[in-house]
């Protein structure tokens, strides 16, 4: 098998594995989940973090 085919196969396997990532999440991880029902800031956490980290427009 060529290296490109091998990489493609690995990508497919990874995507399949990731699609099941949220099935059977260990309790130790679920215990860390936050309740974010009514966020004060509706942007994604990552967007807010980039603003906290670098300031507006600097990320």
């Amino acid at each position: 098998m060529g290296s490109k085919s091998r990489i493609d196969l690995q990508k497919k396997q990874l995507e399949k594995a990731k699609s099941k990532a949220l099935v059977g999440v260990p309790k130790v991880i679920r215990d860390l989940y936050l309740k974010v029902d009514k966020p004060k800031d509706k942007r994604s956490s990552n967007e807010i973090l980039m603003e906290v980290r670098y300031g507006l427009g600097c990320a």
């Binding site: 990874l14 991880i29 989940y33 966020p39 800031d41 956490s45 980290r53 670098y54 990320a59």
Partner: protein
């Protein structure tokens, strides 16, 4: 010999927030790390706590809930909090003198790279900017998602992360 993995604020928040766009990617990796629990130490630098707390407060999460979750994270047997001390910065400066990439680093990049290099750790982040700036200095930094990678020089680096961890641990970690 233990192997070290450093989790950036963007990674920690993605694990904790089920609504985060990187949540699935982060949980996938965290599960893999937990499977190697007795051989892998997760490093959380102090700056990660500060950034994560500020971010989550701004999102509207209560102080008590943030405190509760971070205590739970700290109480995991393979997680350690790494304080930032000045001597580490001096050591990194010495290692990087003459390296032009160093000049592109921002404070948070510098601190994270600093701790990562000190422990020879693999660094997990969902901050593309940091990934790009730290990589030339410390290539064991990984953006483990296919999201938002169009036009980037890198894609989902989960395979590279797992492959490098396999080499470090000397054993296979199946998907």
């Amino acid at each position: 010999m233990k192997h070290f993995v450093l989790e950036d604020s963007s990674f920690v928040i993605a694990v904790m927030d089920p609504g985060d766009v990187f949540h699935r990617d982060a949980v996938f990796i965290f599960k893999k790390i937990l499977e190697c629990k007795d051989r892998v130490i997760v490093l959380i630098p102090s700056v990660v706590f500060f950034e994560s707390i500020v971010t989550l407060i701004r999102k509207g999460i209560s102080h008590s809930e943030i405190e509760d979750k971070f205590w739970k994270l700290l109480h995991l047997s393979n997680v350690i909090n790494v304080p930032i001390i000045e001597t580490m910065a001096f050591k990194l400066c010495k290692r990087l003198s003459g390296n032009s990439d160093f000049l592109q680093m921002k404070t948070s990049d510098f601190v994270i790279a600093n701790v990562g290099m000190e422990f020879d750790a693999q660094i997990l982040t969902f901050d593309k900017g940091m990934r790009k700036r730290v990589f030339p200095t410390h290539n064991e930094i990984y953006y483990c998602s296919s999201l938002d990678t169009d036009g980037e020089s890198f894609g989902d680096e989960t395979s590279r992360f797992i492959s490098d961890m396999e080499i470090a641990l000397g054993e296979d970690i199946p998907f």
